[in-house]
């Protein structure tokens, strides 16, 4: 059993019931083939980086599940046929995943949902910090090479 992640981009002006219908059908496909759906993460309406089928906006849904290859094929077949789906993409996150362990993990992280957002902010801050650090390192390193090269030059001359 592998862990997959499928992104589905619906038309932004699609009614919620229609979206639900597709998602329910896809979810049913996962469980029918012996897999487990972990979560449906709805990102909501977002601006697309480039127009798809002349649409500038799309409704993003991320689906996280455990299953086998044939289940993915079946899901993708349905999504391909559905004209209301602008784009989809499946990525294998993990080979030989254990759905039970993942569910337990999800349950513990769900108990503290507030911790998710500050974590995101801190990573952003961390990113900024690293660039500063990296620059500091770079200048240090440059200084080191300079001093190291000095005797060489003197020797050659």
């Amino acid at each position: 059993m592998n862990r997959y992640e499928t992104f589905i981009i619906f038309e932004a002006d699609l009614a919620e019931e229609d979206r639900k219908m597709v998602l329910d059908r896809v979810g049913a496909l996962v469980s029918d083939s012996g897999g487990t759906t972990i979560l449906f993460d709805e990102w909501g309406t977002k601006k697309l980086a480039y127009p798809i089928r002349k649409k500038n906006q799309g409704y993003y849904v991320r689906m996280d599940y455990c299953g086998r290859g044939p289940a993915v094929e079946a899901i993708e077949r349905i999504l391909r046929q559905d004209t209301r789906v602008l784009r989809f993409m499946t990525v294998r996150m993990e080979a030989d995943a254990d759905p039970e362990a993942l569910k337990a993990e999800m349950a513990t992280s769900a108990q503290e949902p507030a911790s998710e957002e500050p974590a995101g902010e801190s990573t952003e801050e961390a990113a900024k910090e690293t660039t500063e650090e990296a620059e500091a390192h770079a200048s240090d390193a440059a200084a080191e090479t300079e001093t190291a090269e000095e005797p060489q030059i003197a020797g050659k001359e």
Binding site: A49, R87, M89, A126, E133, A134, A141, A142, T145, E146
Partner: protein, 81 residues
């Protein structure tokens, strides 16, 4: 010798950002992190410019391409930006 002096001026050691900070993840779901590694036109910045190590550059390129597929990043950027 003049060439060498000149080279020293421009020499600046680049550090792979992902090696420096293990908390920084390369993930196609985080286009804001990936944005640092593409040009305004949407091209992937080569590692000779960005200083990313080979391993992380491979990973980065893959994730940028994934993000492009689901329209989180552009294939062709807007040069007016």
């Amino acid at each position: 010798m003049a060439v060498m002096n000149k080279r020293r001026f421009f020499h600046r050691r680049k550090v792979c950002r992902f090696c420096a900070d293990s908390k920084l993840r390369i993930d196609y779901k985080e286009p804001n992190t990936l944005k640092y590694f593409i040009t305004e036109r949407g091209k992937i910045i080569p590692r000779r410019i960005s200083g990313t190590c080979a391993r992380h550059q491979r990973h980065l390129a893959l994730e940028i391409k994934r993000a492009r597929k689901i329209a989180l990043l552009p294939y062709v950027g807007n040069y007016e930006q």
